[in-house]
C-alpha cells in the first residue's frame, strides 16, 4: 500500500514532530495567559516577531543560541506591550490582539525590506541552524528510531517544556496564582497577592515561549525567513489551546493532532487530494469542540438552577 505508506509512514510522524514544535511552544505560552484570564488573539503577531527577530539576530551573530535569545527578547518586549495595554490600560483584549497581529506583520515586512531590501523570502549562509541531536541508540529501534533519532534540540526542549509548564501550573505556588487570577481575581487580590505582578509575570513567560516557537520556525528546520512566515500558526495555536481546554498535557495532544494534520495535508497533495480541506480541520474541530463544551456547561448551569 504505497498510498498509506505516503500518508502514515514514520517519516510523516517525524515531519509532524518538527511541525509541532513551534505550534506547541506558542500554544504553551497562550494557555498560560488563557489560564490567567486573558484571551490573547495576538499569538500570531508575537510568533511572527519571534520568527523575524530570531532570524535577524542569528544573521548578525551567526549563532543559533544568540538567535534564540534575540527572538525571545524581542517577542517578550512585544508581549510586554500587549500586557501594558491589556492589564494596566484595560484595553479591549481582542482589539489589542488584533493590533499586535497587525504590528507583527507590518513591522516584520517593513524591516525585511528596510534592512535587507528583500520582498518575499530571504536566506543567507551566515544564519546558523539550530542543531539536531543525534541519539545513537534510538537509531536501532525501527519506527521510533526514524521518528526521534535525528530531531532538533528544540524538539526535546519543547517536550520538556510541556511538563515544565504543567508542573508550574499545578504544583507551584505561582501556578496557583495564575489560575486564581483567571478564576477569581478578587480572591487572589484579597489574599494579599499582587494581581498585577502575577498577570505581568504570566504575560512575560508567555512572551518567552512564543519567542522560542517563532525563532524555531525560521532557524529550526528551515534556515530561511519568509514574509508572514507564521502563516496562521498562531491561530492554529489558539485552536489547540481551545481544543485542549488550556491544560498543558491536553494542549500537547491537540498540538500533535493539528501538526499531524498539517504534515498530512502536504502529503495529501502528493496523492492528488486538495489540501484545503485538511488545512481547515484545526479550525473546524475547534469550533465544534468549543460549541460542544459551551453547550455542556450551559446544560450544567441550567440543572444547577433547578
Amino acid at each position: 500500500m504505497p498510498f498509506l505508506q505516503t500518508l502514515f509512514g514514520p517519516e510523516v510522524f517525524a515531519a509532524a514532530l518538527r511541525v509541532m514544535v513551534p505550534l506547541l511552544l506558542v500554544s504553551l505560552g497562550g494557555l498560560l495567559t488563557k489560564q490567567a484570564g486573558i484571551e490573547n488573539i495576538g499569538l500570531e503577531g508575537l510568533m511572527l516577531i519571534g520568527c523575524f527577530s530570531g532570524f535577524v539576530v542569528n544573521y548578525y551573530t551567526s549563532s543559533w543560541i544568540a538567535g534564540l535569545i534575540g527572538g525571545v527578547v524581542f517577542t517578550t518586549l512585544t508581549a510586554l506591550l500587549f500586557g501594558v495595554f491589556v492589564i494596566s490600560l484595560r484595553a479591549h483584549e481582542i482589539v489589542t490582539g488584533v493590533a499586535i497581529n497587525m504590528l507583527g506583520l507590518g513591522v516584520t515586512t517593513y524591516l525585511l525590506r528596510a534592512i535587507f531590501g528583500v520582498k518575499g523570502a530571504f536566506t543567507d549562509p551566515r544564519v546558523q541552524g539550530i542543531p539536531t541531536l543525534d541519539i545513537g541508540f534510538l537509531k536501532e529501534i525501527p519506527v521510533i528510531g526514524t521518528i526521534f533519532h535525528k530531531q532538533s534540540i528544540m524538539v526535546w526542549i519543547g517536550l520538556a517544556l510541556v511538563f515544565a509548564v504543567h508542573f508550574m501550573l499545578y504544583h507551584t505556588r505561582f501556578g496557583y496564582y495564575i489560575r486564581a487570577a483567571g478564576e477569581n481575581p478578587q480572591a487572589l487580590a484579597t489574599s494579599g497577592v499582587s494581581l498585577l505582578r502575577t498577570l505581568y509575570m504570566t504575560v512575560l513567560i508567555h512572551g518567552v515561549l512564543c519567542g522560542l516557537g517563532g525563532a524555531y520556525l525560521s532557524t529550526g528546520y528551515l534556515t530561511q525567513y519568509v514574509e508572514n512566515m507564521s502563516a496562521g500558526r498562531g491561530f492554529i495555536a489558539m485552536a489547540a489551546i481551545a481544543f485542549g481546554g488550556a491544560k498543558p498535557l491536553r494542549v500537547f495532544f491537540s498540538a500533535i493532532l493539528f501538526a499531524f494534520v498539517e504534515s498530512l495535508s502536504s502529503r495529501l497533495q502528493l496523492v492528488q487530494v486538495p489540501s484545503y480541506f485538511a488545512l481547515m480541520v484545526p479550525y473546524v474541530v475547534t469550533i465544534v469542540v468549543l460549541a460542544v463544551t459551551s453547550w455542556r456547561e450551559k446544560q450544567k448551569s441550567k440543572t444547577r438552577v433547578i
Binding site: A91, G106, T109
Partner: protein, 358 residues
C-alpha cells in the same frame, strides 16, 4: 459637559492618529528619508488630482462595507472578528453569479449583490447561532471561520471553478454587464462607492428611527436589561449578525465586481481586519465609518505613491494602523484619565478661587 463627552471620542481618535503620525515620522527618519517628502507623497498620491482621488475612493469602497459590517454587529453586541471570512464568501457568491448566471444585463448586478449579501449574512449566522444555542463565545468562532472561508474559496477557485490555464487559483472574468459602472474613466472608482454611502445612511436611519434598531442598540449596551424589558434577544442577535455579515459580503462583491472583475484566491489584503479598525475608530457609528474608510483608503493608495517617491516601504501604513488600533483599544482608560485630569484641574481652580476669596 455633555458636549465634552460627545467630543471625547473624536478627540481620542485624533490623538491616536497624531501619535501614530509621530511614530511614523520617527520610522521614516530612521529609514534615512525626509518625513515631509514622504508624507507629501502620501497625501499627493491619495488626494492630488481626480485620478488619485478616484483611486483613494475606489480602495475605500470595500472598506466602507466591511467597516459597516463590523460596526453593525458590534452595535448589537456581537464582537464580529469575522468580516474577512464573510467578505470572501460574499465575493465568491458575487463572482459565481457574475461569471455563470445568464441574466439580462440590468439584473445581473443586483442579483450578484444580493447573492453576496446572502452569502456573507448566512456565513455570519453560523457564529450567531452557535452563540444563542450553545453560548459559544463569538470571538474565537468568527476568527476561525475567516480561515475556513479563505481555504474554502481557495479550493473553489483552484478546482471546480478554476480558469483554464491560469497561473494561480482564479475564476474566469465576470461578464461585462456584471461590472459595476465606473464613475471616473481610467480608474476603478465605481458606483459601489455610492451604494456604500447609501448603505451607511440606511443603517444609521435604522438604528436611530426604527424599533428594531433601538432594540439592537439596547442589546449591545446591556443584554440582561434588554431581556428584562422584553427584547427578543436571540432574534435580534441573529438579525444583527446577518446584517453585519451581509454588508461584509457586499464588500467582497465590491472587490470582485468593481475592482478585480474575477475572484482570485486570497483576494483580500485584510479588508475585513481593516474594517474592524475602521469601525472601532468610528465608535461603531455607521456614518462615522465613511470618513474613516476614506482615510484608510488614502493610506492604502497613498502608501504606494510614497513607496515610489521615497524608499519608505508601504508597509509603514500597517504599522501606523496597528498603533492607532492599540490606542483606540485603550480609549476607555484614556478617556477616564483625561476626565480625571480635567476634573482635577477644575477642582484645583475652584480651590484656588476659594482660597483667593477668603
Amino acid at each position: 459637559m455633555k458636549i465634552f463627552r460627545k467630543l471625547l471620542l473624536p478627540f481620542i481618535s485624533l490623538c491616536a492618529f497624531l501619535v501614530s503620525l509621530v511614530i511614523g515620522t520617527v520610522i521614516i527618519l530612521l529609514n534615512g528619508d525626509n518625513p515631509l517628502v514622504a508624507y507629501g507623497a502620501l497625501i499627493e498620491g491619495a488626494f492630488n488630482g481626480m485620478s488619485n482621488l478616484a483611486g483613494t475612493l475606489s480602495s475605500a469602497t470595500p472598506l466602507i462595507f466591511t467597516g459597516l459590517g463590523v460596526a453593525v454587529a458590534f452595535k448589537g453586541g456581537m464582537a464580529n472578528i469575522g468580516a474577512e471570512g464573510q467578505l470572501y464568501m460574499g465575493g465568491m457568491a458575487a463572482a459565481l453569479v457574475g461569471v455563470y448566471l445568464p441574466l439580462p444585463g440590468f439584473l445581473l448586478i443586483p442579483v450578484a449583490l444580493l447573492a453576496a449579501f446572502l452569502a456573507g449574512g448566512l456565513y455570519g449566522l453560523i457564529p450567531a447561532t452557535l452563540k444563542i444555542k450553545t453560548g459559544t463565545n463569538e470571538v474565537v468562532t468568527t476568527l476561525m471561520l475567516n480561515y475556513v472561508a479563505i481555504l474554502f474559496t481557495s479550493y473553489l477557485v483552484n478546482y471546480p471553478f478554476k480558469a483554464p490555464g491560469a497561473p494561480l487559483g482564479m475564476t474566469v472574468n465576470i461578464q461585462k454587464a456584471a461590472r459595476l459602472p465606473l464613475l471616473y474613466p481610467g480608474s476603478r472608482f465605481n458606483v459601489g462607492f455610492l451604494l456604500a454611502i447609501a448603505a451607511c445612511i440606511l443603517v444609521a436611519v435604522m438604528f436611530r428611527y426604527t424599533g428594531a434598531g433601538y432594540e439592537m442598540r439596547m442589546l449591545g449596551r446591556n443584554s440582561i436589561f434588554s431581556k428584562y424589558i422584553g427584547v427578543d434577544v436571540n432574534a435580534r442577535t441573529l438579525q444583527c449578525m446577518f446584517l453585519g455579515g451581509g454588508f461584509a459580503g457586499i464588500g467582497g462583491a465590491a472587490l470582485v465586481l468593481g475592482i478585480q472583475y474575477r475572484f482570485v484566491q486570497n483576494i483580500s489584503p485584510g479588508y475585513g481586519f481593516d474594517g474592524l479598525t475602521i469601525a472601532l475608530m468610528a465608535g461603531f457609528s455607521a456614518i462615522g465609518v465613511i470618513p474613516m474608510a476614506i482615510l484608510f483608503g488614502a493610506l492604502r493608495s497613498g502608501g504606494l505613491t510614497m513607496e515610489l517617491a521615497t524608499s519608505v516601504p508601504s508597509e509603514l501604513s500597517k504599522v501606523i494602523q496597528a498603533v492607532i488600533i492599540l490606542f483606540m483599544a485603550a480609549q476607555v482608560s484614556f478617556s477616564k484619565y483625561f476626565t480625571e485630569f480635567m476634573t482635577g484641574l477644575r477642582h484645583r481652580r475652584e480651590k484656588k478661587q476659594g482660597t483667593g476669596g477668603s
